[in-house]
């Protein structure tokens, strides 16, 4: 009798759990693209049925040179084993700075060539909205070469954009017609793209589908600015962040407390 009761309890538990997990899943595909030139940035893309949202974040594993304060001297090192403490301190600093920083958010509908972009600048609490028009659909030429990326068979396609030739690898196993940054227009998700010179390139390092985590959203009530205004504000902003970095490199302790 006891065994029967235990068996019934187990079966009920299993059924309840199966039913609770069989909920409707979201249809958002989250892809993290790594910038190939090791700039330390990840491009986070969120594809849904009608539009794509993308932003960027630092990826910490590539923080290579970090400041070490020893014998009254500051120098850069990449020895993460010897200067473990300094490495983790610097990593935390970068992470904290990145978490506090507001990164540009882009939104584009698949059927449109207009990108709506939220911009944020250093020491400026305001959010700005820039509306940009992209070039018409890219002229892709499909080739027969294939490449396996993250376990997906990808096919090669070539295009020319702003006089640069790009080689892209897309997969039809994931039915979203998009890619990193503003690359689009292929019949499947682009997982890798490289410029012919090799200077520009993105590669997918993480795909979550269906995705149910946090998603960035565009602030539509932001101040609308023109491209020229945004460039001016960006120049000022980068000057300020360079000053902050220099201060941190000369005195890491002061930087950490910021």
């Amino acid at each position: 009798m006891k065994t029967k009761i235990i068996l019934i309890l187990i079966t009920t538990n299993i059924l309840v759990s199966i039913s609770s997990t069989a909920q409707t899943k979201s249809k958002i595909c989250h892809v993290v693209y790594k910038n190939k030139n090791n700039s330390g940035w990840n491009y986070l893309s969120y594809f849904d049925e009608v539009k794509v949202l993308f932003t960027m974040r630092h990826y910490y594993e590539t923080v290579r040179d970090f400041p070490v304060y020893k014998d009254n001297q500051v120098f850069k090192s990449n020895d993460t084993v010897l200067y473990k403490k300094e490495y983790y301190e610097h990593l935390n600093y970068v992470r904290k700075t990145d978490e506090n920083a507001k990164h540009a958010i882009n939104e584009r509908y698949y059927t449109s060539n207009i990108v709506r972009r939220n911009l944020f600048f250093v020491n400026d609490p305001k959010a700005y909205l820039l509306i940009d028009t992209l070039q018409e659909n890219l002229n892709w030429e499909i080739e027969q070469d294939t490449l396996s990326i993250l376990g997906f068979i990808c096919q090669k396609a070539v295009t020319k954009y702003k006089n640069i030739t790009y080689h892209a690898y897309f997969t039809i196993e994931i039915p979203f017609s998009g890619g990193p940054f503003n690359f689009r227009g292929l019949p499947g998700l682009i997982l890798k793209i490289d410029s012919e010179s090799g200077k520009i390139g993105y590669v997918a390092k993480e795909i979550i589908y269906p995705y149910s985590g946090n998603i960035v959203s565009l602030k539509s009530d932001a101040t609308i600015i023109s491209k020229a205004e945004s460039e001016k504000l960006a120049a000022e902003s980068s000057k300020k962040s360079l000053e902050a970095l220099n201060l941190f490199l000369t005195n890491p302790q002061s930087g950490n407390k910021q």
Binding site: S17, A22, T146, E206
Partner: protein
């Protein structure tokens, strides 16, 4: 002529026109009356490649225009897909005469196949570090870290829990940069869960960062560094509690990894009756052995005598121990590193290993070296109660930036109670062993950096070892040679050994940009006292000495060794690195027999060169060549001239003649490691060693008794191994192939019935394995293993004996993952064993394991083991003296339901 030109011109025009003509397939994609924008429309090649040949994307009105060049004549597959809709497929035949079609896409109601976290870049190589992302390799059914490490390309874990990377042994496993295990990391591999693990770094040319080191000095170790997920409080754990049938079946497991700012610790616990011995969790293959601090190389100089009698377990090759033993085991470990201040760190290790288990075996031994072959049959039930407690405390003081001292104290306490009761020939026989072993080590090392590139270190080591092995035979057998007066039902042998060793090492090293010089002076002194006493009795209060003069001959063995080592390590360029060493050793050995009194001594000067060469062929390939000479000294056991029993009818005797030899090893390997681009990881190695044994064991039979005595031997023996291992990742079909072949030969000289004989042993082990890494619900890991061993014994050119055994093993593991929450593992092992001495043995084992994830941290599992319920396994072995056949009883079916928690 004109006509011809016109005709040619017309032909060219037609050809150009045909080529420039494009066929158009137009259509509208709808759902009901609503047009579907941004749907992808593809014309795929209708072959195995399924590649996209032409494509289009629907506009806001759902319209698409697919342009197909007129040169295209193959059948195409029109495929239209969009998120949330069922994919539409239609064949298009030449001449693709579809001008306008309405295509209705149906909404998708069932769940889309989930990609979930497909992976971060699974493997990243940066210089000497290869990083594996755990997410990419984790399947959810891992029992311990070992299960996960086995899945990483290039890493192999042996059955004891030692890891190697493409053939190179892994010396330590670090927890976020710290070694908590003193290189004894088997605990971590065999008994720690994977909760919280984020990244596994494999670091080559690693140097221990906790010790002061010279500027420019380079590391030589290959280590694994485990990195855990970022959390405010980094405490991760796995636990499971299981009960089963038969009613006494249970398994309780716990592992806890805590990474706090100043304190890191790992706790593991395992209590089970499912056949997993605590001893094997601690990394030991068969007998209990003491734990040594592998961080101090000086320990390798201590070789204490082995106990004279031991009862051996029989675990057939490739048969899991949970199919063999009925056990009750307890395993507790605690490893901690505490940073008290910037200057003081403490490392603590405590292990408690306790096994209580039984085995029933039926043995037939046929002796070859008697005038008439002697057959001894035994039926035994063996029971063992083994306990080991190990404790280590290590303090590291950094007095200043240039002076560091490490003080380490460790104790081992080993208690064995073993009993074997059964039938010997036709007589009942009981054997009991009560063994107690205690060891204490105190080590102190002080390192001073005289200049940033000059270092001197002093190491002192004291080792105290005590062994007491009491062996009881009821009733004993007596030969007419030593038949006592009267009839005695009990024989008791009390073998005691007390050893003290002291080692002093002074090491000076000097480094320049590309060159390191090292001079080391070593002095060691070992004193080893052996006392054996055999008594016979009927009444325990009235024990009588049994042949006192030959069974009771205490002796004291002393060994003094002075060593001077010079070594130069040179980095010629970024590709070539080499080390040359020369050790000069002066050894003084002395054996003092107390009853009757005799003293013998010997002094020998030894020159021991060694070299090491590494050539980095490319970023992915390297070549390695090394050779080393080692001295081979007699041990205190060898020099013990008293008789002692090693089995009810086996008597051994040592020798009073010293013999010292030199052995050498040469090994060479070629390694290739490219897991990311071509997906090929391969290594090949050649290993040759010659270790003269110093003594032959000469065996003679008399009645039921076997007498072994030692004779001097200076003949070379040799072992030669050639191994090839390759792992190829087949990216297109998301699978990998593994091929592993090890071919070894050994030549062993021996004495058999007074004749000098040579035994030649040839072994081939080969394995071919196919593993899938599909993202579907089904995955398979299947392999064929073929192991062949042949032993021939020759006297001059005539063959005296021949023995051949072939094991064919086919095993398949199938994993079903349903809805990401339900994982089923099915394991099938088929064994076929063919031997010269007996009939072919075939066995099929089947295990079933299912795990249901109730939530992210809670799971419910069921384990059914030995489903096929095989009852017996027969195994045979042979040596020049005898052939033995063991039939062991296997553990019957058992089942277990367990609840697992991950946090």
């Amino acid at each position: 002529m004109k006509k011809r030109i016109i005709l040619l011109f017309a032909l060219i025009q037609v050809t150009i026109f045909l080529h420039s003509q494009v066929r158009i397939v137009k259509g509208v994609v709808l759902h009901g009356q609503t047009p579907i924008a941004n749907a992808s429309v593809k014309a795929l090649a209708k072959d195995s490649s399924g590649l996209v040949k032409y494509f289009s994307i629907t506009d806001t009105m759902g319209v698409f225009i697919l342009k197909i060049p007129s040169t295209e004549k193959e059948v195409l597959c029109l495929q239209i897909s969009n998120v949330g809709y069922v994919t539409y497929n239609k064949l298009l035949f030449f001449p693709y005469s579809i001008n306008f079609i309405n295509i209705e896409l149906q909404q998708q109601h069932k769940e889309l196949p989930s990609i979930n976290i497909k992976s971060l870049l699974p493997i990243v190589q940066k210089g000497d570090t290869t990083t594996y992302k755990v997410q990419a390799f984790e399947k959810g059914n891992e029992q311990n870290i070992g299960d996960l490490l086995k899945r990483l390309p290039g890493l192999q874990i042996d059955q004891n829990g030692r890891a190697s990377f493409n053939g190179k042994p892994i010396s330590r496993i670090l927890i976020e940069g710290d070694d908590l295990f003193n290189s004894n990391y088997e605990t971590l591999i065999n008994n720690t869960g994977t909760s919280g693990l984020d990244q596994i770094d494999l670091i080559e040319n690693y140097a221990d960062t906790t010790q002061l080191k010279n500027k420019n000095s380079k590391g030589t170790e290959t280590v694994i560094n485990l990195k855990y997920k970022q959390k405010k409080v980094k405490i991760f754990g796995n636990s499971s509690f299981g009960l089963g049938i038969p009613i006494e079946t249970h398994e309780i497991k716990l592992s806890l990894v805590s990474i706090l700012k100043k304190n890191k610790f790992v706790i593991t616990a395992n209590k089970n009756t499912v056949g997993v011995l605590a001893n094997s969790l601690n990394g030991n293959e068969s007998d209990f052995k003491m734990i040594t601090n592998k961080n101090f190389s000086s320990y390798t100089r201590i070789i204490n005598p082995a106990p004279p009698v031991r009862l051996s377990d029989v675990v057939p090759i490739n048969v899991n121990s949970s199919r063999v033993f009925d056990n009750n085991s307890l395993y507790l470990t605690f490893n901690q590193k505490n940073t008290l201040s910037q200057r003081v760190t403490i490392r603590t290790i405590a292990n408690l290993i306790s096994d209580n288990y039984n085995q029933i075996q039926n043995t037939t031994r046929i002796s070859n070296n008697t005038e008439q072959p002697l057959t001894i049959k035994q039926y035994n039930k063996m029971g063992k109660e083994n306990h080991l407690f190990y404790f280590l405390n290590e303090f590291t003081f950094l007095h200043s930036k240039r002076w560091q001292t490490t003080l380490s104290i460790d104790i081992n306490n080993l208690q064995l109670k073993q009993q074997q009761a059964g039938i010997f020939q036709i007589l009942p026989l009981t054997q009991k062993i009560a063994q107690s072993t205690n060891q204490l080590n105190i080590t102190a090392t002080s390192t001073i950096l005289i200049l940033p590139n000059k270092k001197i270190s002093f190491t002192g080591l004291l080792n105290s070892f005590k062994l007491s092995n009491i062996y009881n035979i009821t009733p004993p057998f007596f030969d007419s040679l030593f038949k006592p007066d009267g009839l005695f039902n009990n024989l008791e042998q009390n073998f005691r050994n007390k050893a003290n060793t002291a080692i002093l090492e002074i090491n000076y090293s000097y480094s320049r940009t590309n060159t390191n010089y090292n001079i080391q002076f070593t002095f060691s002194h070992e004193k080893n006292k052996i006392k054996n006493n055999v008594k016979i009795y009927n009444d325990a209060d009235n024990k009588q000495d049994f042949f006192t003069d030959i069974f009771n001959r205490p002796n004291i063995f002393r060994k003094k060794q002075y060593g001077l080592l010079f070594s130069i390590n040179k980095t010629v360029n970024t590709k070539i690195q080499s080390t040359l060493s020369l050790e000069l050793q002066l050894a003084q050995l002395n054996n003092h027999q107390l009853k009757p009194k005799s003293i013998i001594s010997i002094e020998r000067f030894l020159v021991l060169p060694s070299f090491n060469f590494k050539y980095k062929i490319s970023k992915k390939s390297s070549f390695f060549l090394a050779s080393q000479f080692t001295p081979i000294f007699p041990s205190a056991n060898t020099m013990h001239t008293g008789l002692f029993f090693s089995a009810p009818t086996s008597i051994n005797i040592g020798t009073n003649q010293f013999n010292i030899n030199k052995g050498y090893t040469i090994n060479s390997s070629l390694m290739h490691f490219d897991p990311t681009k071509k997906g090929l990881i391969a290594s090949t190695y050649i290993f040759h060693t010659n270790n003269p044994t110093n003594y032959y064991s000469s065996t003679n039979n008399r009645g039921l008794f076997t007498f072994s005595n030692l004779l001097l031997n200076n003949e070379k023996n040799s072992f030669f191994t050639l191994g090839i291992r390759g792992e190829k990742s087949l990216q297109k079909i998301k699978s990998s192939l593994i091929l592993n072949i090890v071919n070894s030969t050994a030549r062993l000289p021996n004495v058999l019935g007074g004749l000098n004989v040579i035994s030649k042993i040839h072994t081939i082990n080969s394995e071919f394995r196919y593993k899938t890494n599909w993202k579907s619900w089904f995955n398979v890991n299947t392999g064929i293993l073929l192991q062949q061993q042949q032993q021939n014994t020759f006297f001059e050119k005539s063959k005296l004996s021949n023995f051949k055994t072939i094991d064919f093993i086919y095993n398949t593991g199938i994993t079903f993952t349903l809805n990401e929450t339900f994982i089923i593992d099915l394991q099938l092992d088929y064994l076929k064993n063919t031997q010269t001495t007996q009939n072919t043995n075939t066995l099929l084992f089947a295990d079933f394991q299912a795990r249901f994830m109730l939530s992210k941290s809670l799971n419910l599992g069921i384990l059914l083991r030995n489903i096929n319920n095989v009852k017996e396994y027969s195994t045979a072995s042979i040596n020049p003296f005898e052939k033995s056949i063991n039939v062991i009883q296997l553990r019957p079916f058992f089942g277990l339901i367990n609840l697992g928690l991950k946090f």
